[in-house]
Amino acid sequence: MLNLALRRIGGILLTLLVIISVSFAIIRLAPGGPFDQEQALSAPVRANLERAYGLDRPLRVQYVRYLGALAHGDFGPSLRQPDFSVSELIAQGLPLSATLGLAAILVAALSGICAGLAAALWRSRGADLSLAALTALCIALPSFVVGPLLALVFGVKLHWLPVAGWQDHSARYLVLPVVTLALPVAAYLARLTRASLLEVLGAPFVRSARARGLGAARVLWRHALPPALLPVVSYLGPAVAFTITGSLVVESVFGLPGTGRYLVQGAIDRDYPLVMGMVIVYGALTLLFNLCADLVCGWLDPRTRHE
């Protein structure tokens, strides 16, 4: 188990290096630069700026320097917001983005798994059909459609919740964003849980547990549920990645001051260190949560431990 975890962490570091190199290469090859503005800077000013940020060096040197600074946890300065370092910008936005993402995952996991279990345990044609239709709808609809529509209904028409913004750190502002973010994940989890539990309930070992005279509740909790939840847990890793990318949209829809806007704006502005910082932070988070899901799966499923 420890061996496996170490090997996986090594793989993650390697993948992270690939991510860093690929995005470094792409963003530097992109035409335009951070100092392109409506009014062109005079050549000496631009040259001075580029020298100050080390952008006049050959790309190889810049790459090595960047990696060196990164090893010390330094993401560098933001080129377009000169008073802030990239770390400061990310530290400003990340608490809100993380709250949003974690709340969405929690809501999705709770509601999705419960709905899936209920659908598997109390089967009826009507319930099956409505669950299938509802989940298909939730999965097919992108969050940038669901978000504005929810805001239109619950914010503009019904006045139950604020339409957008983030004032006084009030949780009321987070309800619609969390629901928007959670819906597709919850729908997918509900489908997964239902299918997986139905499969396990039909398996021979559950039948034999019943045959030994164990009560229905005990069969369900001790025998059927742990294996049934395996695919659900392994989906949670990718689900976190999905939520992270989804939060880009949701923050833009609901005007939340999270980190999402940095990536898009940074890419448009060619703010190299900011884009790199965002890609690294979010890439590392994605990889980390995938690892966590794998480790939990290994703990739940004895078969994967010895591989």
Binding site: T15, V18, I19, V22, S23, I26, I27, L29, A30, P31, G32, A136, L137, A140, L141, P142, F144, V145, G147, P148, L149, A151, L152, V156, V163, A241, I244, T245, L248, V249, S252, V253, L263, V264, A267, I268, R270, V275, M278, V279, Y282, G283, T286, L287, N290
Partner: protein
């Protein structure tokens, strides 16, 4: 059973076609898609407005028949009927092209890896694995910066760059299964070269399953395209994509809700129908369902 029984080969396109149309939901979805495509093609020709003509008499006007703005106008007085249908056309065209590109790359890559086997296969699939674990949307966002803003080439490359990965995996798995079949062995025995086997014997046998997968990749591409356009990285003004229209509508929904509802409705119907067709095709081809 009498001797008269006609022997109809099961499987393949012949039966699948009927199974597909026999599924009422799928047939309905197919019909709707055709209708929307037709509307997107002829709608803008029927309307008196162009996608960028400004109508100063009707700024942010609600849908009305008398003004001949059937879906209303936006804040600049541009006709939403034309802009939405233009957006549908653009979204459909981009995602179809991107799907074809990613299928082409995916099939080539996967078939070569599967047929070659051994170390080459290992390395090629390792590459796919690494690319898979990247936060793809971030890479796409960065890829779109490679070209000048709003260039459709950038959008296509970015979309195809993420689309081919799953195709490559599926195709490789299928090719691995094909590789051990007798007819491939026979082709080898006759001295056919690797590329010739690939083109004449492997790829034709992959087309069925890949066609099914292709119908699932199209809605995915539409989703990516509208997502990027929503973020302002895809189709640029004055052109419209469903994504950028929804973004514009979301900004104005308090005073002009039709600006959000019209493009949202089109996107939702488009995505649902394409997904239904994909599911229907899969069911039609999947022998386990029989």
């Amino acid at each position: 059973m009498s001797e008269e029984v006609r022997i109809v080969p099961r499987g393949g396109w012949g039966e699948a076609k009927w199974r597909l149309l026999g599924n009422r939901l799928t047939a309905l979805a197919l019909l709707l898609i055709l209708l929307i495509a037709l509307l997107a093609l002829i709608g803008p020709l029927v309307s008196p407005w162009g996608y960028d003509t400004l109508d100063w008499q009707h700024l942010a006007g609600p849908p009305s028949l008398s003004a001949r703005h059937w879906f209303g106008t936006d804040r600049l007085g541009r006709d939403l009927f034309v802009r939405t249908l233009d957006g549908v056309r653009l979204s459909l065209a981009i995602s179809l092209l991107a799907s074809i590109m990613s299928l082409f790359i995916g099939v080539t890559f996967g078939a070569i890896a599967g047929l070659a086997g051994g170390r080459l296969d290992g390395w090629m699939m390792r590459c796919v694995d690494v690319l898979y674990s990247l936060p793809y949307l971030f890479i796409v966002i960065i890829l779109t910066t490679l070209f000048s803003r709003g260039s459709l080439a950038a959008l296509l490359v970015a979309l195809a760059a993420v689309g081919w990965l799953t195709t490559a995996r599926i195709v490789r798995a299928l090719t691995l299964a094909l590789r051990r079949r007798e007819f491939i062995e026979a082709a080898r025995a006759t001295g056919l070269s690797g590329p010739a086997i690939l083109l004449r014997h492997v790829v034709p046998n992959l087309l069925g399953p890949v066609a099914v997968y292709a119908t699932l990749i199209v809605p995915q591409m539409i989703l990516f395209e509208t997502f990027l356009s929503f973020l302002g990285l895809g189709v640029q003004e004055p052109h419209a994509s469903l994504g950028s229209l929804i973004y514009g509508g979301a900004q104005e929904m308090e005073s002009a809700p039709w600006m959000l509802l019209v493009p949202a409705l089109f996107l939702v119907v488009l995505l649902l129908c394409l997904n239904l067709i994909g599911d229907g095709l899969r069911d039609a081809f999947d022998p386990r369902e029989r």
